[in-house]
Structure formats: structure tokens, C-alpha cells
């Protein structure tokens, strides 16, 4: 009974979300309503110029390593820092042998 009710409410919530997020008559996020391409021109720019400017045919790699290189650099730093912190916290400390 409880499980059925839970599943039914999940389906109901999903349906409400589908109605709310529908671009035709639901909520509209951000500036672009009908002419969203005018405000999100970078998508089309990457698709059109990515191969010629960066060279990789995998556009995601082009964006990650070239257009958004600083982001990847920070991500690598975060990985390094987290592992250094994990090892520093988990290793044997001076008092406990």
C-alpha cells in the first residue's frame, strides 16, 4: 500500500515537472524566450568553429581543454589537493605507532 502510494506520487510529481518545464506553455527560465539562440550563441559558435580553431573533432574535449582550460586546471588542482589531504589525514601520525 505504502509502496504503491509512493510510486503513484512519484509519477504525479514527474508529470507536474513535465508540464512545468515544457518550453511551449510552462515556466520560462532566463532571458531567452522565443529567440534563445540570440542569447546562447556560444553553443553554435563551438559547433561551427571548434574543429578549425582547436583541432579536435571531439567538441567536448575542445571546450574542456581549450575554451574552458582554466576550469580544467582548477579541476586538476582540486583532485591533487583532495588526494594530498586524504593521504595527510589517513597516514600514521607521530603519536601512534
Amino acid at each position: 500500500m505504502k509502496t504503491t502510494f509512493g510510486a503513484l506520487s512519484l509519477i504525479f510529481i514527474l508529470g507536474v515537472l513535465l508540464v512545468v518545464a515544457n518550453p511551449n506553455y510552462g515556466l520560462k527560465f532566463g532571458l531567452g524566450e522565443g529567440n534563445w539562440e540570440e542569447y546562447r550563441y556560444t553553443d553554435q559558435y563551438y559547433i561551427e568553429h571548434g574543429v578549425e580553431e582547436v583541432g579536435g573533432t571531439n567538441i567536448v574535449t575542445d571546450i574542456v581543454f581549450d575554451y574552458r582550460g582554466y576550469d580544467t586546471l582548477g579541476e586538476a588542482t582540486v583532485l591533487f589537493t583532495s588526494i594530498a589531504g586524504a593521504v595527510a589525514l589517513l597516514r600514521k601520525w607521530r603519536g601512534e605507532e
Binding site: G56, T57, N58, Y70, F80
Partner: protein
Amino acid sequence: MRPQNSDMGLIVKTMARATIPLIGIFGAYVIVHGHITPGGGFQGGATIAGAGVLFLVAFGLSEAKEKINKNFYSVLEGIGGLVFLTAGMLGLGVVFFYNVLWHKGPVFNGEAGTLLSAGYLPIMNLAVGLKVYTGLVSALFAIALFRRWKK
């Protein structure tokens, strides 16, 4: 209490022996072809790290301690990060993260879509793959090695 026996049984060990090279080859493929097919350094490095974790789980900590040198892995991780930074600085004459190898470099400037193309992208993919692989393996190794809970 039974003696400390951290490795798995025969079936798991045999399966691990068979699948670890395949996982490694697939991860290396994902890294090397990162600039032409889906995937890249991070994904391929995580795949190879999965092989390392499988080794650690299947063969136990004592066997992994002989095969995996933790300090060597730490050094490799630092090298990966430095190579990534250096590849980003190659085109510093124009701007940071300028792909100078692709525009007028001596290597890696073949036709787009081939393996030796895309300027610094293959170098960065290799560096990030090495970094992610060694980093994840050493993190899991540290978690397995330094148990901080009481027996």
C-alpha cells in the same frame, strides 16, 4: 578468529587476471583517442583506475603493496599536473591556453580527425589521464593501507 586473509578466492583472481589487461587497454584507447572520439583523459584515467582497484580488491593488500609503489605514483601524479600546465603555457606568446601546436606547431598538426592532430589536446589528455589514474589509485591505496579504525 581466522587468520588475516585479505585476497579473494580462485575464481575472482582468475577473472581479475583475465579482465585487468582488457580494462587497461580500453582505458588507454579512450585516453589516446580523446580528441577524436567520445571520452578523454579524465574518463580513460578513471577506467584504468578501475583496473587498479580491481587488482587491489581481488589480490589483497599484501600483494598490491609489492606491485604498487605509492611514492612512485605520487611522483607520476605531480608530473601529470606539470605536463598539463606546461602544455597550457606553450602558447603563452599569444595567450594562456592558446593552441599554438595546432596553428603553427611542428608536431600534432595533421588533418583534423587523425590521431596526430589537435595540437596540445593529445598531450593534455595523456597528462590528465596519468594524473587521474595515479591519483585515484593512490587515494584508494591510502584508504586501504592506513586503517584508522580499531580492530
